[in-house]
């Protein structure tokens, strides 16, 4: 961004003209559906298999082969549509979209053109802005053309025919930050719907951006499409480059520089967008109804079954966690990071009846264990600690059988697979020591030579007692009940204050 433009909130303000410019952004997001087989054949879907090992006559476009729709893909697509509050069409159809390239074996892609299975719906951002979805449609993925292995282009068709949904938003977004927030929310919804992993690294989520700019209060201008955005960061960077580029072009007043309708590619290493093809070179896809596939009819029963399989979505869960369980916004966010974690947390909370404690343990200690490379758990479900175990641990703490320090130690052993909390506590003798005589002995010992603490406490600064609690816990090997220790210490200091007989 040149010095002539300066960012103020959602706007870019021109130092020269004083005009406040805003971005007008729409996103087209392709997401792979997590089906076992491809959209129109029974080939397995797997990342990283040897090239062309997951192919058949259908997905290699052999003459005479015919597509047959995978009903599982349709189910996942419908679930995603329901998750964004969209309308699911009772009848929709497939169309052929034609373009010649070596990675689409038929030189047409089976997609949906004028009658997608889903229209409407949308996603609400944290700011309250509602981003409308135009449509979601089903289509097959292309294969991969590999250009960097010698003089010939190589083609891998393992991905050809994999089920995709393309979600097209209205141009309701204004800033690069909003675009990324929208993408993150969409990714979260797709994962929550169980429709896909939406992992950008694995190419399971791909994004094209439409962007134009307008002076605040005016209509939007010529829109430009940006392709080749392989991460959320690229989306942000491309927009951070492209929006000022367009504004500066308008501000310059030079007609040759004015944005034109075109497709641009993002060059991640240079951080710039470059013209890929202009409107004159735009493709004519020659859409027409796919004659090999009958129309898709979705019965109410099918749609309702998918609705039943759809769990509560993250935004709704967060609201419930805050309002009904009294959790903080931060904890609610951590706990709804993935559907697995949220489901896990809810199971623990239900089992022990203590949602706040459950939230603390899941959001902090368990999340730490999950992030530990040595634990090597891909998801919370893979930990040896099941919700039932964690609930038991929380109950042990609540009943005073162990203290929090001991519980942390027990959890560490549980993560390592050493058994149930009760077993571990019994085996290792980690029960809290409540026996008055031992506690008092440790307390008296700790007070020796700490007259200043006693003085502070007597002066009303009871917090000073903490300095003595630590040594007592240490002396007890961590097993002392800290609550009891505190009480005894206060009593001893108070007694000490009485005139000795």
């Amino acid at each position: 961004m040149s010095e002539a433009l300066c960012r103020e909130g959602a706007a870019w303000v021109s130092a020269v003209t004083g005009t406040r410019w805003v971005g007008v952004i729409g996103l087209e997001v392709h997401a792979q559906l997590a089906t076992n087989s491809k959209l129109f054949c029974s080939c397995e879907v797997r990342f990283g298999a040897p090239p062309n090992s997951l192919t058949c006559p259908v997905c290699t476009g052999q003459p005479g082969s015919l597509p047959v729709l995978n009903a599982a893909a349709l189910g996942l697509a419908v679930r995603t549509a329901l998750a964004v509050g969209a309308d699911v069409a009772a009848e929709s159809k497939f169309d052929r979209k034609h373009y010649f390239y070596c990675d689409i074996p038929k030189n047409y892609q089976i997609s949906q053109y004028d009658r997608p299975f889903c229209t409407g719906g949308g996603i609400r951002l944290a700011s309250g802005r509602f981003v409308r979805l135009t449509r979601i449609h089903l289509e097959e993925d292309a294969g991969k053309a590999i250009h960097d292995r010698g003089e010939h282009t190589l083609v891998d068709l393992n991905r050809a025919g994999v089920a995709l949904i393309e979600s097209v938003s209205e141009a309701d977004l204004e800033t690069p930050e909003e675009a990324v927030e929208y993408l993150e929310a969409l990714k979260e919804i797709i994962r929550y719907a169980g429709a896909g992993e939406a992992d950008m690294e694995k190419g399971q989520l791909r994004c094209d951006v439409n962007v134009s700019v307008r002076p605040e209060g005016e209509a939007w201008r010529t829109k430009v499409e940006i392709k080749n955005l392989n991460s959320f960061r690229h989306v942000r960077e491309a927009l951070e480059y492209e929006i000022p580029r367009q504004i500066e072009a308008y501000e310059s007043g030079e007609s040759a520089r004015l944005p034109r309708q075109e497709t641009r590619l993002f060059d991640a290493s240079a951080g710039v967008t470059r013209t890929m093809r202009t409107k004159e070179e735009a493709r004519d896809y020659r859409y027409f109804t796919e004659p090999d596939l009958p129309p898709i009819t979705l019965t109410e029963a099918f749609v309702e079954r998918q609705r039943g399989l759809l769990c509560e979505l993250p935004q709704a869960r967060r609201r419930r966690y805050r309002e009904e369980l009294g959790l903080s916004e931060y904890d609610a966010r951590v706990l709804t990071g993935t559907r697995e974690v949220a489901d896990y947390f809810e199971a623990v909370a239900r089992l022990c009846g203590r949602p706040k404690e459950a939230a603390n343990w899941v959001a902090n200690d368990l999340s730490r264990a999950l992030a530990d490379p040595e634990v090597a758990a891909g998801s919370i479900d893979e930990l040896p600690v099941k919700p039932f175990d964690l609930a038991e641990l929380i109950e042990l703490v609540a009943a005073g059988t162990i203290n929090t320090t001991g519980a942390r130690e027990v959890l560490g052993l549980m993560v390592a697979g050493s058994g149930s909390p009760r077993e571990i506590v019994a085996e290792r003798g980690l029960e809290q020591v409540d026996d008055e005589a031992s506690l008092e002995a440790w307390c008296r010992e700790a007070l020796e030579g700490r007259e200043q603490v006693a003085a502070d406490v007597r002066a009303g600064r009871t917090k000073a007692i903490g300095a003595v609690v630590g040594p007592v816990m240490k002396a007890s090997g961590g097993k002392a009940n800290p609550q009891r220790v505190r009480e005894i210490l206060l009593r001893l200091i108070a007694e000490d204050d009485q005139p000795r007989p």
Binding site: G64, L66, V68, L69, P294
Partner: protein, 499 residues
């Protein structure tokens, strides 16, 4: 076919099962006939002698080992298949240089079902390139000749299948019909040819031309053979989403199969217009009289949109073809020409070099009618007219049980006569295209002869059209007609087997 003159597939199977002849002997007779005749006819693109012989021996062994075991409906019957039906281990050239050496990695459902019924595939038959043509002259491998007159076209595009059956090289063959490609060559070669209701026979493994029109159909010398083959190849196939969820076509078994009492036969003025060949008209009129003799009642029907059928067909079929043939680009299969070294250069050079003129013409036409700005005026309008053509038939079938008329406006025409005139060639399909657009079942059966050159009469075909799913009714009418007439009996005199 030496030793089996006049025998149809049903007879051959019965003779083999009765121990009167072996499957191997039956096959050898067929191979000998091909050897003798095909040099001048050019019906086959390849003859699969070795695999066919191995299979015949295996069938005979199976029979010898357990004479009581169930035998397939086509046990030991030699069949020929059109070169657009995929079969593992066999080249499927589709009449094109593009697929001259293409070996499909899988077998078409209809061929699989033939094999499962114990038939023996003897070879792959010639056709117009990608089934685009009505004479075989668009085959990249040279034309097939009409067994009744070697200077004339056998019709097309299932040219080789029709000629092979007419010349007695095989009793039955598979063809495919997009706008008449089974019925028209059947008519011109004097054999029976059936196009089923769209969706009754799986298209899995049929190399697509016009996907919403293509149907596989049999060619045979008797109606009961057509019925027999249809019983084998029809029925739902989960590998074709447009395949109807119905069981195989089951023949009607009326009490008096030779009679057609109470049958209402529709006659459409649009099908017997002024451009109909006079001798074809005479033969078809005689056939209609014969149907009345059998108890049928002739009823006049109107099919007012027939005049639009050819233009509509050439928009719909070429649009679909331009899409279906897009996959032939030199990348994954078929011919490849490197061109200027770029990807687009390879696509262009491959397609320029390996497609014939007619295919290119239709791809260009189809690409145009789907182009932005022209799409609705051409393709969109064609779809609307197609719906009107369908409605014509629906209305007519409220009044009648079948509609009868000629299959082709003319008998076999001389090779070369229409080759340079696409519109004249397209007119060959005037009477078959409407039923294709409507997806209806129709059969062509021999109904007489026109006078050709000296000593070589030219067959005329009667087309019997039924409403959707009335495949069995169409066959029943054809069978009654056949049993009351002798038109199906004569064989081409040039057949050289002394019949």
């Amino acid at each position: 076919m030496t030793g089996a003159e006049g025998a149809d597939a049903c007879d051959l199977r019965a003779a083999i099962l009765a121990g009167e002849r072996s499957a191997a002997e039956t096959l050898e007779a067929s191979l000998a006939a091909i050897e003798e005749r095909d040099g001048e006819l050019g019906a086959f693109l390849s003859v699969e002698r070795d695999t066919a012989r191995a299979r015949a021996i295996e069938l005979d062994r199976r029979r010898a080992a357990d004479p009581g075991a169930a035998a397939g409906a086509l046990f030991g019957v030699p069949v020929a298949v059109k070169a657009n039906l995929c079969m593992e281990g066999v080249t499927t050239p589709c009449g094109s240089r593009m697929l001259a050496n293409y070996r499909a990695p899988y077998t078409a459902t209809c061929v699989r079902r033939l094999l499962d019924a114990d038939a023996i595939v003897v070879g792959v038959t010639n056709m117009d390139e990608f089934a685009m043509g009505s004479s075989s002259e668009h085959s990249a491998f040279g034309p097939t000749r009409n067994p009744w007159d070697l200077t004339r076209a056998p019709g097309g595009s299932s040219s080789g299948s029709a000629a092979a059956v007419a010349a007695g090289m095989v009793p039955v063959a598979l063809g495919s019909d997009t706008g008449g490609s089974v019925r028209q060559p059947a008519a011109l070669c004097g054999v029976g040819g059936f196009k089923p209701t769209y969706g009754r026979v799986s298209r899995h493994g049929l190399i697509a031309f016009g996907s919403s029109l293509d149907q596989v159909g049999p060619l045979a010398r008797s109606v009961r053979d057509l019925e027999r083959i249809l019983g084998v190849i029809s029925g739902h196939d989960p590998l074709d989403a447009t395949s109807l969820p119905l069981p195989p076509i089951e023949p009607e078994r009326p009490d008096r199969p030779e009679r057609l009492d109470g049958l209402r036969v529709g006659v459409a003025a649009e099908y017997v217009g002024a451009d109909l060949d006079a001798e074809v008209r005479t033969a078809v009129e005689a056939a209609l009289e014969k149907l009345e003799e059998l108890g049928a009642e002739a009823v006049e029907v109107r099919l007012p949109h027939t005049v639009h059928a050819i233009p509509t067909y050439y928009v719909v079929a070429t649009a679909e073809a331009s899409s279906n043939l897009a996959r032939f680009d030199g990348v994954g299969f078929g011919a490849r020409t490197e061109g200027d070294g770029s990807l687009q250069g390879m696509f262009a050079a491959t397609r320029e070099g390996a497609f014939g003129d007619e295919v290119k013409r239709r791809i260009l036409l189809g690409t145009f009618v789907l182009s932005e700005g022209y799409h609705d005026a051409w393709y969109g309008r064609a779809l609307r007219v197609r719906a009107l053509l369908r409605r014509d038939f629906e209305r007519a079938f409220e009044k009648v049980d079948v509609i009868c008329g000629p299959t082709s406006p003319t008998p076999a025409f001389p090779l070369g006569e229409r080759a340079g005139d696409p519109l004249a060639m397209y007119a060959s399909d005037t009477l078959t295209v409407p039923t294709s657009l409507a997806g209806l079942p129709a059969v062509s059966v021999p109904c007489g002869f026109a006078s050709g050159a000296a000593d070589s009469p030219l067959p005329v075909g009667l087309q019997i059209i039924g409403p959707a799913l009335a495949d069995a009714r169409v066959l029943r009418v054809a069978a009654a007609f056949e049993s009351a007439t002798e038109h199906h009996r004569p064989a081409p005199t040039s057949a050289g087997d002394g019949r």
